[in-house]
């Protein structure tokens, strides 16, 4: 049966089913009679009532099955034509009423970096001297139907517009949300953030260097299970196909030091074993009414273009403190993440790790001070480590804009212990409906 036929059938069932029900609901008043809805003597026990209900549901399901036979009642179900009567804008499908919620974000950046232009690593999105539009983002969110919600995030840089995320989420499965579409890999805390929610102007150095400035995102499916325990425990299991757009650096045959390496098209991977698999476990404990501790662990695996197995292991820990009565004026959080990457069979490449830790302290309603330290190249030799420290002060007038000033100091041992300094000012603005913030 085609869709029109189905719709007609549905209309028939609704109309046909509703009419007698309405008639039963409103019987003519009986003078001096007993109320029509009086329960019969000897009320059934709950289990009997449930059994009766189950029987009725089964009957109904069977009746529906039968009614789906070809042409049953379809002709009689045709709705009367309503053209020319009370037409409104929505009659032409132009109503705004059910539009998705639209919000926009902009990140503007201005500053100076002492890094030589040729030393800047594009793949790492290092801050570069000048004025720039760091990112413009448009997000659309809507409840699709009783069963699905959809979210789309479009981002634009100077050169291109692309989707950062676009996925549907199930709403009606107990304990479980299944997301499908272009999604961010559930790696620790940082990878799932959009840039306007970054605690600092850029992602942590090891993350940018190892996962790429955009982090890990790809078309796939995410099964997010809320495990029924007394404390919050969520398990994310994801299957992702990194062959959409640029392959992930962790799976491609590029090496971080040599970003210009051509991607070998002959290694186009399409077998099941070539998908990337992500498992992430997140737990959160209430230490007190004002303090929480979150601990998470992530494993990412997939076959890389060197025909080896790439393993990425990450751990994260976050402590948040928000006083109960004065949460608007002061708060504190401390977050640490570690990351370890082994691209098996990658020629001349040893496993490499990185870590970052940051503190954020809100000392007044609109003011934050923050610091972050990051290292790339553990546990490898000292000579190859890169260190980066950042200090940031933020003025946040309200939830919809912020002005942030950041100083960064970076030291790459390999480059003859030279230091890179950078100072940048960032303006963030958000427009649109009030967002519900993730914790």
């Amino acid at each position: 049966m085609d869709w029109t036929g189905r719709a007609r059938l549905a209309a028939f069932l609704i109309l046909g089913g509703a009419t007698p029900a309405l008639a039963q609901d409103a019987p003519p008043p009986v003078e001096g009679g007993a109320p029509p809805d009086e329960a019969p003597p000897g009320e059934p026990s709950p289990s009997e009532a449930e059994a009766t209900r189950a029987r009725e549901e089964a009957d109904m399901a069977a009746a529906l099955q039968q009614a789906e036979g070809p042409a049953a009642g379809v002709e009689t179900a045709r709705a009367p034509a309503s053209e020319g009567t009370g037409a409104t804008a929505s009659s032409r499908g132009l109503s705004n009423l059910l539009n998705p919620a639209i919000s926009g974000n902009g990140l503007l950046l201005a500053g100076y970096s002492s890094r030589d232009e040729e030393d800047a690593v594009e793949e790492r999105a290092d801050l570069e001297t000048g004025l720039s539009i760091q990112e413009l983002e448009v997000a659309l969110s809507a409840i699709i139907d009783p069963f699905l919600r959809a979210d789309m995030v479009l981002t634009a840089s100077a050169e291109e517009i692309g989707f950062e995320e676009a996925y549907v989420t199930t709403l009606e499965i107990p304990h479980l949300a299944v997301r499908g579409g272009l999604i961010k890999a559930a790696v620790g805390r940082h990878n799932i953030l959009h840039s306007h929610a970054f605690p600092f102007l850029t992602g942590p150095l090891p993350w940018r260097a190892l996962l790429g400035p955009e982090g890990l995102a790809a078309p796939g499916v995410s099964v997010d299970l809320l495990i029924p325990l007394p404390w919050y425990t969520e398990l994310n299991l994801q299957v992702l196909d990194d062959h959409f757009g640029e392959p992930w650096a962790i799976l491609a045959n590029q090496t971080p030091d040599d970003p210009d390496t051509e991607i070998d098209e002959s290694l186009d991977r399409r077998a099941l074993e070539d998908l990337a698999y992500v498992a992430h476990l997140k737990t959160l404990f209430d230490l007190s009414a004002s303090t929480t501790l979150e601990v998470g662990a992530t494993v990412v695996g997939g076959r890389n273009a060197f025909d080896g197995w790439t393993s990425l292991v990450a751990g994260d820990m976050t402590v948040k403190w928000r006083p109960v009565a004065a949460a608007r004026y002061t708060s504190f959080d401390w977050q640490t993440e570690v990351l370890w990457l082994d691209r098996g069979h990658a020629p001349g490449e040893d496993p490499i790790g990185g870590a970052h830790t940051h503190l954020r302290y809100q000392f007044a309603q609109q003011w934050w001070v923050q610091g972050r330290g990051a290292v790339l190249g553990i546990p490898g030799s000292k000579d190859e480590r890169v260190w980066r420290g950042e200090a940031l002060a933020a003025f946040v007038p309200d939830e919809f804009s912020a002005l942030r000033l950041q100083y960064g100091l970076e030291r790459a041992q390999a480059e003859g212990a030279s230091f890179v300094h950078d100072v940048f000012l960032q303006v963030i603005f958000s427009m649109g409906p009030h967002p519900a913030h993730a914790y």
Binding site: T169, E294, F400, H437
Partner: protein, 314 residues
């Protein structure tokens, strides 16, 4: 076909046994605020179990969507929220994270209590955020008007009865008890505040507007003129002038906001700052709605002084 039908029947039977909560289990109700929690507790009695997300001394606008609340919500049969976008900054994230279809908005397990009341302070003209983080559908702080509490209680009782029809008579009887409790105290509160009708007051946020309207107090202005944004000195200077001109002697200040600004303004306007709880449990000895209103009414009257003084400045 018969086989098909009977297999469907078995499936439905198994499904209903697995999904339906047993008849003796109490309904698990989660409310966003303690005031709604109190109403649910009085109306539901021993037939329900009530959990509350936001503590009485916590600002319901700025709660964090802490995942542990998702765990609480994941077991709820009914979620009662204030509505009018009071919880917009955190509740949607909690509902989605709870993965509990029964409490999704649109289901019988989701109730916004503000749908039962007539909102005030609905912004007219263009709505944008130059006016701060405003509530575009009206003022959500309805619960300090006792008559609104009765309306919300009726909505909650109706919803409980819908979810648990067997206990509907209990809920209706409890609702009548709650109404009686409020009516009796209402007479006393009205009598106490009657001499102060028309007295001018100021407040930090627009939390006391329903209260002021019910008891005839007149709001001169707010310290926080644009919700969510600290007041500017210019605005405070204007407010001090307005308060002096109107002989407003009291600033009602929600006790989860920093009182420093209110104290500065009070000093210059020759007024007094009243640090008040605005929800049940927001201060010691506010364990019930009657006690909360007793405390607020008592403090307001004490601050305004003898009624004659108030009447001298009409």
């Amino acid at each position: 076909m018969m086989l098909h039908r009977s297999s469907l029947f078995v499936f439905a039977l198994v499904a209903s046994t697995l999904c339906a909560s047993p008849a003796w289990a109490e309904l698990r109700v989660v409310t966003t605020t303690t005031d709604l929690g109190w109403i649910a507790h009085v109306v539901g009695g021993d037939r329900i179990h009530v959990d509350t997300i936001c503590a009485g001394n916590q600002d319901p606008h700025f709660l964090q969507a802490r995942p542990s609340y998702m765990v609480t919500l994941s077991r709820a049969d009914l979620l009662v929220a204030v509505g009018l976008e009071l919880e917009v900054g955190w509740l949607p994230a909690l509902i989605q994270g709870a993965r509990r279809p029964a409490i999704n908005p649109g289901r019988p397990g989701y109730l916004e209590a503000a749908t039962a009341i007539q909102p005030i302070d609905v912004p007219v003209g263009g709505v944008d955020r130059s006016r701060g983080d405003i509530h575009p559908f009206g003022n959500p702080h309805f619960w300090l008007d006792p008559l609104n509490v009765k309306l919300a209680a009726r909505a909650i009782a109706d919803r409980l009865a819908q979810l648990d029809p067997a206990d509907a008579p209990v809920f209706r009887a409890n609702l009548a008890t709650l109404n009686g409790r409020i009516d009796r105290r209402m007479q006393r509160w009205q009598a106490t505040l009657a001499p102060y009708r028309g007295t001018k007051i100021a407040s930090y946020h627009a939390t006391f507007n329903y209260f002021a309207r019910r008891f005839g107090l007149q709001q001169v202005g707010y310290l926080e003129d644009r919700p969510g944004i600290p007041p500017s000195p210019g605005h405070l200077v204007d407010l001090v002038r307005q308060m002096r001109a109107a002989h407003a002697r009291v600033i009602l200040h929600e006790n989860f906001y920093d009182p420093a600004t209110s104290r500065v303004v009070a000093e210059r306007a020759d007024a007094q700052v009243l640090l008040l709880p605005v929800s049940i449990g927001g201060a010691p000895a506010t364990s019930s709605y009657e006690r909360l209103l007793d405390l607020i009414v008592g403090q307001v009257v004490a601050a305004l002084g003898p009624a004659q003084t108030a009447a001298a400045h009409p």
